[in-house]
């Protein structure tokens, strides 16, 4: 985590996002990566408001499946946003569903997530929910 007042560059934010996605796939989430008033809206876990709720929601996602893999295809960043294009693979009750997931992250200057959207293509989401 960057120190307070240190403004991260887009490449630094990309590297942070890559590590966070890798850790998130294992159910590991660093609370310090989120602002206190962070908001998340996810296709799998719904809406969460506040750091604790967001962290809990992110930790919950991998536990919903026998297997949960998020492989970043590309990560882009500018001063305000990080966008991760992710190949998602989940397995449950013996069925595997692969989908493209888009994560749109609003960040502050310290690279903390203030808002996170995790969208999965609706048809794949239906397959996951109907498993």
């Amino acid at each position: 985590m960057a120190q307070s007042g240190t403004k991260l560059t887009p490449p630094q934010k990309i590297e942070m996002a890559r590590k966070a996605i890798e850790a998130g796939s294992r159910g590991e989430v660093n609370p310090e990566g989120f602002s206190r008033d962070a908001v998340m809206r996810g296709s799998l876990v719904g809406e969460a408001r506040g750091r604790d709720a967001v962290v809990a929601a992110l930790k919950k996602a991998p536990t919903m499946f026998e297997e949960f893999q998020q492989q970043p295809h590309a990560i882009l960043a500018d001063n305000d946003h990080v966008v991760a294009l992710i190949n998602l693979k989940v397995k449950s009750r013996g069925k595997t569903v692969e989908a493209q997931q888009v994560m749109v992250v609003h960040t502050n200057d310290q690279g903390q997530v203030t808002e996170l959207w995790a969208m999965i293509e609706p048809e794949a989401l239906k397959q996951i929910q109907n498993r």
């Binding site: 296709s43 946003h81 294009l85 293509e121």
Partner: protein, 137 residues
């Protein structure tokens, strides 16, 4: 249009996508079509008639034209655009009106672009199924 062999910068690629949204908003679908390669693929969102895969420029432009004819007062306001060598991603605040009702949504357009900034593949992601509701009504 850049000449063949000229590799566009990220800013130029972003500008081409911005130009495409502006052309769509003023109804200039010919200008929009010039931004796609002939074999471009459009992956639409959800289970509406605009969802699914549209392969080839003619098919995807047909889908786009039908979208424009189905809704009134289509608003596509770009919130931000990001790019790297192979992608341009547009975060868009979108609203459409149909039968007097307006539906608002946030969409993410992921464009795969070649060195000349032409789009070879587009993925549309959205956080809701607002479009479906608007068609059902």
């Amino acid at each position: 249009m850049a000449e063949a062999g000229v590799k566009l910068s990220l800013d130029q690629k972003i500008q081409k996508i911005r130009d495409g949204f502006e052309a769509f908003k003023r109804g200039d679908l010919k200008a929009v079509s010039e931004l796609f390669t002939d074999d471009a693929v459009w992956h639409g969102r959800g289970s509406t008639k605009f969802g699914g895969d549209f392969k080839g420029k003619d098919a995807l432009m047909g889908n786009m034209a039908q979208f424009a004819q189905t809704f009134q007062d289509i608003r596509l306001d770009i919130h931000d655009i990001l790019a790297n060598d192979k992608h341009v991603v547009a975060l868009v605040n979108n609203s459409v009106t149909r039968n007097g009702k307006t539906y608002a949504d946030q969409q993410t357009f992921v464009f795969h672009v070649d060195d000349q900034g032409r789009t070879t593949e587009t993925w549309v992601a959205s956080d809701t199924e607002q479009l479906k509701k608007s068609l059902e009504n």
